[in-house]
Symmetry: none
Subunit: 209 residues, 4 copies
DNA sequence: CATGAATGAGGCTTCATTCAT
DNA sequence: GATGAATGAAGCCTCATTCAT
C-alpha cells in the first residue's frame, strides 16, 4: 500500500484542523458564527487557504456535519452487543444514542438543522447525503424489532414505524436536554424513555433494564 | 363596541400582508431568504414601511411564527370534544395535531427552528415566548393521560413523559412528511402513530379508532 | 392695531411649541437627536404639520437658534446700566454674558456650532444671518472700550480687536464649563476673566469689581 | 532595524489614502459629508476595504483628527526656541499656533467640533482622548508664563487661567479667519493678538516683537 | 387645515470569494 | 502552494419629506 506522501499528510492535517475548527465554532457559537475568517483563524490557516481543501463554505460545513454523524453512528455500533437478546440490544441502542447525542450536544443542534433544510426543495440536494446515517440507524433499530417479533418477544407492530418512533423519541429527548428544558439527569431521561417503550415486550416479567 | 375605523382596517391589512409575505417567504425559500426588501416587495409596501408595523426584522418573524403557533393551537382545540372519553380525546388531539401540521407544513419547518435557536444561549430569550404554545400543548395531552390513568383505562405511566413522547412522535411524523420521506398518506401515518401508542390502553378490546 | 385673529393665535402657539420642542431636544440630547418625528411629538403636533410652520428642518433649527441668540442678547442688554462708568459697564457685560451662556449652556453648544458651519462655504449662507447677534455684541463691547479710551481710563488699544478677544475669552470660558472641564464656580470663572483683562485699565487703584 | 516590508508599505499607503480622503472630505464638505462610500471612493478603495484599516467610521474620523492634532502640536514644538526668554517664547508659541491653525484651517473646523461633542455626555468618552493635545498645549503656555513670573518679567497672574485665555484668543482668531470674517492678513492678526497680551509684561521698554 | 402613513434614498457594516504576490 | 488584502453584493435600519384622506 502506498505510504502517504509528505504532501498528503499535510493536506490531511489541514483538512482535519479546518473541520475541527468548524465543529468547535458550530458548537460554541452556533451556525451564524461560522465565518470563513473565523474558522481559518481557529485552524491556523489563511482564509484563502480553505478553498484549497473545500469547494466552498457549504461543503465545509457539510463535511463537518457528516463527520459527526459518522462518529455518532460508530459510537452506537461499539456499544451494541450483537450477542445480546433483542430487548437488551434495543436498550443498548437507545442508551448509546442518548449518550452519543449528549456528548455531541453542542453540534447536534446544527446536525438536526438539516431536517429543516430538507424541507426546502432548493437546498434538499445539498444535504441529502446526510440522510444516509439516519437511514442506517433506523434500520439498525428495525432489525432488532424484527428479530424480537420473530422470536415472539415483542408485541405485534409495524417495525419500520416502530423504529421511526423510537428514534424520534430519542432525538426529542436529546433536543429537550439541549434546550435546557429537561430538568432530569441523562440517566433519568434514559430510564423514562425505556419505560415508555417497555409495553412493546409481551412478557414483561422477563425484563431487565 | 367601536367599529374599526377606516385607518384601523388599513393598518390591519398592511400588517396582514407583511405577515403573509413573511410566512410565504419563510415557507418557500427558508429562513435566510427572509429579507426586509423582499418581504416589503411581496407585501407591496416600501422597504421602510415595514418599520411602521414591526420594530425590526426579528420581531416581524417572531410575530409571524407566533401567529402560526397560535393558529395551530386553536385548530387543535376546535377538534377536541371535551365530552369524549380519554382515549378518544387522545386520538383527536393527535389527529388534529397531524392535520394542523400538515396544513402548515411549509412554515412548520421554521417554527421548529426555534428548537434550534433555543440551543443558542445568546438567542434563547428572543424565542422563549414561543415555548408557551408547546407547553400548553403538552399539558393538554398530559391532562388526557391523567384522566385516563385515574379512570384506570391507561396503563400506569409517567404522564408528563408520556405527553412529551407522544408530541415528539407527532412532530417527527410531520417532519418526515415535510422532508418528503414518508411515502404514506397522512391518514396512514395517523393510524400508524395511534397504533403505536395503543398499548397505553389496558383493555384493548374496548378500543375504537 | 389689528387684534390677532383666532387663526393667527393658533399659528403662533404652534410655532412656539415647535421651537420649544426643538430647543429642548437640542439641549437634552444634542443635534443628532433632533428628528422631525421627535420634535413633532414633543410639541404635540403631527409630523407633517411642521411643514406648515417651517419650510424644512434646517429652517426650524435656524429659527430656534436665532431665538436663543436673540434672548441672550436681550438678557445682556437688561443687565447693563447705561449710566455706569466704562470699566463697570465692561464688567457688567462680561458677567451678563457668562450668566446668559450658563443659563443656555445646553443649547449654547449648538449655537456655537454655527461657527463650524460658517467654515463650510456651502452652508455659509444658511447660517450667516445668525452672525448679526455676534456683531451686535462685539459692537456693544467695543463701544465701551472706545468710551474708556476717550476718557483716558483704558490703556491704548485697538478697540475692535479688544472686543473680539474679550468675547472669545468669555465664550471659551462658557465652553469649558459646558465641557465639564472648568472645576471652578461660575463666579470664580467670572472673577478670573475680569482679573485677566484688568490691565486694560490704566490706573488700577480706582477699580471696583 | 527591520526595513518595512512591501506589505507594510502598502498598508501604510492605504491607511494614508484613507486618512487623507477623510481629512479632505471633512475639510471641503463638512462632517456630515463623510461617508464610508465617499471616503472609499476618494481613496480609491472598495467600500468594504476601509474596515481592514479602521474598526468603524468613528475610529477612522477619530484617527484623522488625532493625526491633525498631533501634527499641529509638533509644528508648534519645532518653532519654539527653548533657549529664548519667556516673552519671546510666548510670542513664538502664539505665532506658531496661528500659523499651524492657518495651515490646517480646513480641518481645524472639525477638530474644534470636539468641543461640541464633549458637551454631549453620550459622546464624551469617544472624543475625550483628543483633549490630550489641548492639555499639552495649555501646559506649554503655562510653563512659559510660570517662568516669566518667577523671573519677575510678567505681571502677577494666575498662569493656568492666563494660558487658557491666550489659547482661546488664538483659537478665536483662527476661527474668525476660517469664517472669512477677519479681513486682515495673518501677520496682522498675529500682531494684534500679541499686542493685546503685551500688558502681561511689566517693563514694556524691553520688548521686541 | 391637520394628520401620519408611506416613501425611498442613503448610511453603516459583514462576509464569501477571488487573486496578485 | 499559501497568503490575506481587496472586492462588492447584500443586509438592516433611519428619517426628511410628501400626499391622500
Amino acid at each position: 500500500m502506498a505510504r502517504p506522501s509528505r504532501k498528503e499528510i499535510l493536506q490531511d492535517f489541514r483538512t482535519r484542523s479546518l473541520l475541527e475548527a468548524t465543529r468547535k465554532t458550530l458548537a460554541n457559537e452556533g451556525f451564524e458564527a461560522v465565518t470563513m475568517e473565523r474558522v481559518a483563524q481557529e485552524a491556523g490557516i489563511a482564509k484563502g487557504g480553505i478553498y484549497l481543501y473545500f469547494r466552498n463554505k457549504d461543503q465545509m460545513i457539510f463535511t463537518a456535519l457528516e463527520e459527526i454523524a459518522s462518529e455518532m453512528t460508530q459510537e452506537i455500533d461499539t456499544r451494541v452487543d450483537p450477542g445480546a437478546r433483542p430487548w437488551e440490544r434495543l436498550c443498548q441502542v437507545v442508551s448509546a444514542q442518548l449518550d452519543s447525542m449528549e456528548r455531541h450536544k453542542d453540534v447536534l443542534r446544527t446536525l438536526l438543522l438539516i431536517r429543516w433544510h430538507m424541507g426546502n426543495s432548493r437546498q434538499r440536494k445539498k444535504w441529502q447525503r446526510l440522510l444516509k446515517y439516519r437511514t442506517r440507524h433506523l434500520e439498525r433499530i428495525r432489525a432488532i424489532l424484527d428479530e424480537g417479533l420473530r422470536a415472539n418477544i415483542f408485541r405485534l407492530l409495524d417495525t419500520a414505524a416502530g423504529a421511526f418512533y423510537i428514534n424520534e423519541m430519542a432525538i426529542g429527548t436529546a433536543q429537550r436536554r439541549m434546550m435546557g428544558l429537561s430538568g432530569s439527569s441523562l440517566e433519568a431521561d434514559r430510564r423514562s424513555l425505556i419505560e415508555f417503550i417497555k409495553p412493546l415486550v409481551l412478557d414483561q416479567k422477563t425484563l431487565s433494564t
